[in-house]
């Protein structure tokens, strides 16, 4: 078993090098190496899943310095297993899909190398035993994300987006890095399971747990594209859509939730869950409302990702590990499906992202439309799709826990709005009449095997998984999961969902002209602009980093350095020049003047000696 886990962690990195090196010979080799490897990973994970009895642990000593040693062990339990299934399964489908999606690109070896590198980082993250290993995976993944977002680095937008992605997440990561040191100090270990136990049993004081938990939460929020770090997630859409699907829809962004889930006891002991719930509830609302008005489909999906991951955070924050992780798993599948579906649309329409130019695409892209509809239903929370169950569980727990009306309200509104924006998106793309005839006529039907098959698998999965939600929840918490019962919740929620869908149907299918009129209203227009720009969070952060950090702080430091510290040093040159010029005047070049010095000296000497002799 432990060999298998080592294989899981190491092989993607090795394969990444191989794919890159041999891909130079023929691009197809790079693809096939990746395809075979990811398939083997998935099979290996399935094997592990079916043969799993107890948590599997591999101890590796990384390094030892002074009296301290830092291990980098591996640990697989139910939580990791769920994540591994998601990563390897979706990873395989994504690579398979890439065959056609990336077919035209000259840099395929690099692409597959990065992708495998990413999968390796993700597997390392979810199977790490200690925070050191987790952080390594965390950062490697971040690097892969950066490189893949900037995959088309010769263009301005992807290059800029990569910078944002790296720096926004890094701003969170430093808190995780700091908590490595803090936990080493307070807990004496980096083993996450041990830390959980220590906190639960009160060995770590709850104040410490609270602070460290908040630190880790900041990193988690950064990585998961949550408020206020979400702008990078929007910009990340500049990368290839396969990357958006796998990294920024289904896997990497989940790692923030994973780490909170992994340290769930620690968070509970430190009373930090309320903070998680509060920030996340805000994220649910901000994401969902912003998604309502976007015109690019990938941006809709990105905001939707933000909103849904926030929902998962809320699930954890209100104290239900099962609900949060269930939603994470379900979301991973349907979001990957939707992203890849959007990718299929883009592939068929020559990379068009603006939904207002589509319309009526369900005819040429029938399969894609069907599968995306299934994904949309799951996302919107329609039973029996899996999305319904987890969302329902989160709603129920939130209401039952009642951390405050605002949290509950924001969560419910945001969660329900998902049906609105996804309906809007689907209608704008697939229904109605084509709005851009030229584009419509040029649509190519994508390959069934390479493109539609993975979509189909995911669509079926998101449907089938709906029937196994109880089992999934039991598996995650290794106990019987009991959902809190709220009277009349189901009919109310379903009613709200259906009426929201109806409203969207009315506006975007029947009376599209009304939408344009509405937006022209001054009040609506300003709200629309706020939402379109994601509440201007990015603009504020950009202003802060550019104007405060660089143009003020760094500039002041530089000014001090040049005009004070260095000026003092360089000033010695000028000062000695001045002194030199003054003193040069003592050299009058007249012999007579020189004797003055002698008389002075002799006088001084005699005086001193006389005084000295008297004394």
């Amino acid at each position: 078993m432990s060999e298998l886990i080592l294989y899981l962690v190491i092989s993607p990195f090795a394969a990444a090098l191989l794919a890159y090196a041999f891909g130079k010979i023929d691009k197809q080799i790079a693809f096939w190496i990746s395809e075979i490897l990811t398939l083997s990973l998935f099979i290996a994970v399935l094997y592990l899943f079916f043969h799993y009895t107890n948590p599997i642990s591999v101890d590796i000593n990384w390094f030892k310095f002074g009296h301290f040693s830092i291990p980098i062990g591996l640990y697989i339990d139910h939580l990791s297993m769920v994540m591994l299934l998601i990563v390897s399964g979706l990873g395989f489908l994504d690579i398979h899909y890439s065959h056609d999606y990336m077919a035209e690109d000259p840099h395929q070896p690099r692409y597959y190398g990065y992708m495998l590198f990413f999968i390796g980082g993700m597997i390392l993250l979810v199977s790490a035993k200690q925070l050191s290993g987790l952080f390594t995976g965390w950062e490697l993944m971040g690097l892969a994300s950066y490189l893949l977002i900037s995959f088309w680095h010769e263009q301005k937008a992807p290059a800029d987006s990569g910078v944002s992605a790296f720096l926004y997440t890094k701003a969170g990561d430093i808190f995780l890095f700091a908590s490595l040191g803090l936990l080493f100090y307070y807990a004496g270990t980096l083993n996450m399971v041990t830390i959980d136990h220590l906190a639960t049993s009160g060995k770590i004081s709850s104040h410490v747990s609270f602070v460290v938990a908040i630190f880790i939460l900041i990193a988690a929020l950064g990585k998961s594209g949550q408020f206020p770090f979400f702008p990078w997630l929007l910009r990340a859409m500049e990368g290839p859509t396969t990357v958006s699907a796998l990294i920024h829809g289904a896997t990497m962004v989940n790692s923030g939730i994973y780490i909170v889930a992994r340290l769930f006891g620690f968070y509970a002991a430190g009373d930090a869950l309320i903070v998680v719930a509060s920030i996340a509830a805000l994220g649910v609302f901000v994401g969902a409302t912003s998604a309502l008005v976007q015109s690019e489909m990938k941006r809709v999906l990105a905001y939707s990702t933000m909103s849904h991951l926030a929902l998962a955070f809320v699930g954890l924050g209100v104290g239900s590990l099962a609900a949060g992780m269930m939603h994470l798993s379900n979301h991973a599948i349907f979001k990957a499906l939707l992203f890849l579906g959007a990718g299929a649309v883009m592939l068929s329409t020559n990379d068009t992202k603006d939904m207002w130019r589509f319309g009526g695409l369900k005819k040429p892209l029938f399969l894609v439309a069907i599968f995306m509809a299934m994904g949309a239903l799951s996302l919107g929370g329609i039973p029996p799709f899996s999305g319904y169950f987890s969302k329902d569980a989160i709603f129920a727990t939130t209401i039952a826990t009642n951390h405050g009306d605002i949290i509950t309200a924001l969560t419910l509104i945001g969660g329900l709005l998902s049906i609105a924006y996804i309906t809007r998106m689907w209608i704008l793309i697939f229904a109605g009449k084509p709005r851009d005839i030229e584009l419509f006529n040029a649509v190519k039907t994508p390959s069934k095997f390479w493109i539609s098959l993975p979509l189909g698998i995911m669509a079926v999965a998101t449907l089938v998984l709906g029937f196994f939600q109880k089992d999934l929840a039991d598996y995650i918490i290794s106990a019987k999961y009991i959902e809190p019962h709220i009277t009349h919740m189901m009919p109310v929620i379903l009613g709200a969902i259906i009426s929201l869908a109806g409203i969207m149907y009315y506006f975007y299918y029947l009376r599209l002209d009304l939408v344009k009129k509405l937006i022209a209203q001054p009040l609506i227009k300003s709200i629309h602009n706020i939402l379109l720009n994601g509440y201007y969070v990015e603009r504020f952060i950009t202003w802060f980093t550019h104007n405060i950090m660089v143009d003020f702080l760094a500039k002041v430091v530089t000014y001090i350095d040049i005009h004070l510290l260095d000026a003092v040093i360089d000033g010695t040159n000028d000062a000695s020049h001045v002194v030199f010029n003054r003193l040069s005047k003592t050299n009058t070049k007249k012999s007579g003047d020189y004797t003055g010095g002698v008389i002075f000296l002799v006088g001084l000497v005699i005086l001193t000696v006389m005084i000295g002799a008297r004394a």
Binding site: S576, V602, T608
Partner: protein, 441 residues
């Protein structure tokens, strides 16, 4: 026959050999023979003279420097005069009484005037006249001091040890020291040196500043040591002020000079400050060895640099920094000589200058005046400013068209190799100095 006698007669005889091909070989032979006599420790055999291993070592160093001078110099009269300086040095370093000191000091001085008498331009005339006037003044002060000393009841035909000094004797000795300090370019009596050393023919400056000055320094410490030890409680303040002033002023004024000769002249003043600093620590066991080391190093460095200056300029005294720009592209070897001797002056290790400065500074630290040592060391940092600038002109700059630098003869290069050897030897093999002492043999 002692080295003094041999050198004295060689001086006279060499006059007869001028303009013959045997002149240089004869002079070289005489110097080598005298060095050999020193090595054999042959005494002067007159009253008031005694030798010690330290002075013998220093005399050997002087003779090696004279050897190099002879090889490098082309003016025969200068060589003859340099022989006389050698002869006088023997007396000066071996003298044990005030009388012998004054006598041989004047011998060195007189020949100094003769040396600078070689005048080819108005600049050199200026330097020579200032030299003469200052020398006369110094002599007057020395004689005045001697008179006061005698007036106070001192006997100038004895050494200064075991004497109780009364106030008049002290004043007399101080007046005498004022005259000597005048020659040693101690601030505020330094200005003449800046003009003279820079204006006279550089090879003459090599003799005066490189050899004569260090000989006088060692002789002063040797003779006046008992006096300084007895009166240190009075004189320490003066000595500290004078040495700090001298080194600081010398370094500052050397900083932005355009003429190489002037820069070296001020650097020589600064070096005098370092040497005077040792007198503060006169009670310390490292004082004598420190001064001796400084003087030995100084003989090699300063002589070599002024001779090089003479060689590349063909005897003119106003070579500027612009002239030496890009020298390395014309002659790698000469540039290397310059660089190493300059680094030695700057106190870069494994060269004699460093050891000299280090031991002298340590003597001061050992005596408890670490602040003075700190000032000296900071001064050394200061001096990097112009030493480094000089190196920069040679190595980092491109040469200018109107450079007056000429090529250097082989015998001059051999002379430089001898001096370089000295700088390196005393930089590494410190035992040569450490194993000597000033105790009479």
């Amino acid at each position: 026959m002692s080295a003094f006698v041999l050198m004295f007669f060689a001086t006279l005889f060499s006059l007869a050999l001028h303009r013959t091909f045997v002149f240089k070989p004869f002079v070289l032979l005489m110097i080598v023979l005298s060095g050999f006599l020193i090595f054999l420790k042959t005494p002067v055999l007159m009253y008031g003279f005694a030798q010690s291993s330290a002075t013998n070592l220093f005399l050997l160093v002087i003779f090696i420097a004279l050897l190099a001078f002879t090889l490098s110099e082309d003016k025969e009269i200068n060589i003859t005069q340099s022989l006389f300086i050698g002869a006088a040095s023997v007396l000066l370093l071996r003298g044990t009484t005030l009388l012998t000191f004054v006598f041989s000091f004047e011998a060195v001085s007189i020949i100094s005037f003769a040396v600078v008498g070689h005048i080819r331009s108005s600049i050199q005339a200026d330097g020579a006249v200032k030299m003469f006037i200052s020398g006369a003044l110094a002599t007057a002060l020395i004689v005045l001091g001697l008179a006061l000393f005698t007036f106070g009841g001192g006997n100038f035909n004895l050494s200064l040890s075991n004497i109780h000094f009364n106030a008049l004797m002290e004043v007399g000795l101080w007046v005498m020291l004022a005259g000597i300090f005048y020659k040693l370019t101690i601030v505020p009596m330094h200005s003449w040196a800046a003009d003279s050393y820079a204006n006279i023919k550089p090879s003459s400056a090599a003799l005066l500043s490189g050899i004569a000055k260090s000989v006088v320094f060692v002789a002063v410490l040797k003779l006046f040591e008992p006096f300084f030890i007895q009166t240190l409680h009075v004189s320490i303040f003066i000595l500290i002020v004078l040495s700090v002033l001298t080194m600081t002023l010398g370094n500052i004024l050397a900083m932005f000079q355009k003429r190489v000769g002037k820069m070296l002249a001020y650097s020589s003043i600064a070096q005098a400050g370092y040497m005077l600093m040792v007198f503060i620590a006169v009670k310390d066991s490292y004082a004598q060895i420190g001064l001796l080391y400084l003087a030995i190093a100084y003989v090699f460095m300063q002589t070599a640099l002024y001779l090089l200056l003479d060689n590349i300029g063909g005897g003119i005294s106003d070579i500027t920094l612009d002239d030496v720009k890009g020298l390395v592209k014309k002659d790698r070897l000469v540039s290397l000589f310059f660089a190493i001797q300059i680094f030695s002056l700057a106190g870069v290790p494994l060269l004699a200058g460093f050891m000299g400065k280090a031991i002298a500074t340590y003597a001061v630290v050992d005596a408890g005046y670490w602040i003075v040592a700190l000032i000296a060391l900071l001064n050394s940092t200061f001096s990097i400013g112009y030493y480094g600038w000089f190196i920069k002109n040679i190595y980092f700059d491109h040469s200018v068209k109107q450079s007056r630098v000429i090529s250097v003869s082989t015998s001059a290069k051999i002379a430089q190799i001898i001096l370089l050897g000295g700088t390196l030897f005393f930089g590494i093999f410190a035992f040569a100095v450490f194993h000597t002492s000033f105790c009479s043999l």
